[in-house]
C-alpha cells in the first residue's frame, strides 16, 4: 500500500519520519493558502496570475503527497499515471501502475477513507452552528485558494491518515 521506502532521500519506512513529512506537508499547504489569501488581498488586480500560481503549487503539493504512497515518479510517461492515482479510490486500483491491494491493504484503505470523510463530515456539520463561512473573505476571488485547500483535503486526507497510521515498514526477509 505504501510502495516506497524513501521520499526525496528521506526514509519513510519508519512511521516517525512519515509523520514528520505529513505534518510538514499540511503546514506548507496551510501556509500557501494563507499566503494566497494575503497576496490576493494586497494585489486584487493580479488575481488571475496569483490564482494560477497557487493552483500549480497546490497540484504539485497533492501529487507530492501521493508520491509518498504510490510508486509514481515525475517522468513524462508517468504523468497520466500520476493523475490516475488521484482518482484511484474510484478506480479501486485497477488502472494504476502499482500492484492491486491485497485484502489487508484494501481494509486499511477503506478505513482511512471512512475516517477521513467522517472528519470532513464533522467539519461540515460544525460549519453551520459556528457559521464558519463568515470567516471567508468577502471578495469572490479570494475564495479560490480556499476551494483548492478543500480539494486537497478531500484528496489527501485519506492518504495522510494512511501515512500517519501505518506502522514501521518491515523488510521482506525480516523474521
Amino acid at each position: 500500500m505504501i510502495y516506497k521506502r524513501e521520499f526525496l532521500g528521506i526514509p519513510i519506512a519508519p512511521r516517525r519520519n512519515r509523520r514528520w513529512l505529513v505534518a510538514a506537508y499540511w503546514l506548507v499547504i496551510s501556509s500557501l493558502t494563507c499566503g494566497a489569501i494575503a497576496l490576493l488581498k494586497a494585489h486584487p488586480q493580479r488575481s488571475t496570475g496569483i490564482n494560477i500560481l497557487f493552483t500549480y503549487a497546490f497540484m504539485f503539493g497533492a501529487i507530492g503527497l501521493g508520491r509518498m504512497v504510490w510508486d509514481t515518479s515525475f517522468t513524462p510517461e508517468n504523468v497520466s499515471a500520476g493523475i490516475r492515482t488521484l482518482f484511484d479510490s474510484a478506480l479501486q486500483g485497477r488502472r494504476t501502475r502499482n500492484p492491486p491491494r491485497d485484502e489487508r491493504e484494501q481494509r486499511q484503505w477503506d478505513k482511512a477513507h471512512t475516517t477521513a470523510y467522517a472528519l470532513l463530515s464533522l467539519i461540515v456539520i460544525l460549519a453551520f452552528p459556528l457559521q464558519l463561512w463568515k470567516f471567508l473573505p468577502e471578495v469572490g476571488q479570494l475564495r479560490e485558494p480556499l476551494i483548492w485547500f478543500l480539494i486537497l483535503v478531500i484528496i489527501n486526507l485519506p492518504q495522510s491518515i494512511l501515512l500517519w497510521t501505518e506502522p514501521d515498514m518491515e523488510t521482506p526477509d525480516e523474521s
Binding site: 485484502e103 518491515e170 521482506p172 526477509d173 525480516e174
Partner: protein, 95 residues
C-alpha cells in the same frame, strides 16, 4: 523444546503458528507472500496477530503448509509442541 511461546494474540485476537511453520520450512516472508498473492507486510501483520485473515486466505495458508486451518490459527494459545508430542510439560518448566 518450546517452539510456540505464549504471547499476546495481537489486535486480531487470534494466535497463529505462521512464523514457526515458515521458519521450519526456511522460507522468507516474501516467498510466502508471493505464494499467497499478498504483500509481504501482510505476512508480518498475520504473524504478529495484528490482522485477522479472510477465510480464503486462511484456507490458502492451510493448503500451502499442508495443514488444517486449526493447526495454524487458534483462539486459544497453542500448547508447546513438546507438550503436544509427549503429553506433559518439559522438565524444568514446572513451578
Amino acid at each position: 523444546m518450546n517452539t510456540t511461546p505464549e504471547k499476546s494474540p495481537g489486535e486480531s485476537g487470534l494466535y497463529n503458528r505462521i512464523a514457526v511453520l515458515r521458519a521450519e520450512r526456511g522460507i522468507s516472508r516474501q516467498d510466502l507472500a508471493d505464494a499467497m498473492d499478498v504483500n509481504y507486510q501482510t505476512i508480518g501483520f498475520l504473524e504478529r496477530g495484528d490482522y485477522s485473515p479472510s477465510l480464503k486466505l486462511a484456507l490458502s495458508l492451510g493448503e500451502y503448509f499442508g495443514l488444517p486451518v486449526e493447526a495454524i490459527f487458534s483462539k486459544q494459545p497453542f500448547k508447546p509442541l513438546s507438550q503436544q508430542v509427549y503429553g506433559q510439560r518439559p522438565t524444568g518448566t514446572e513451578k
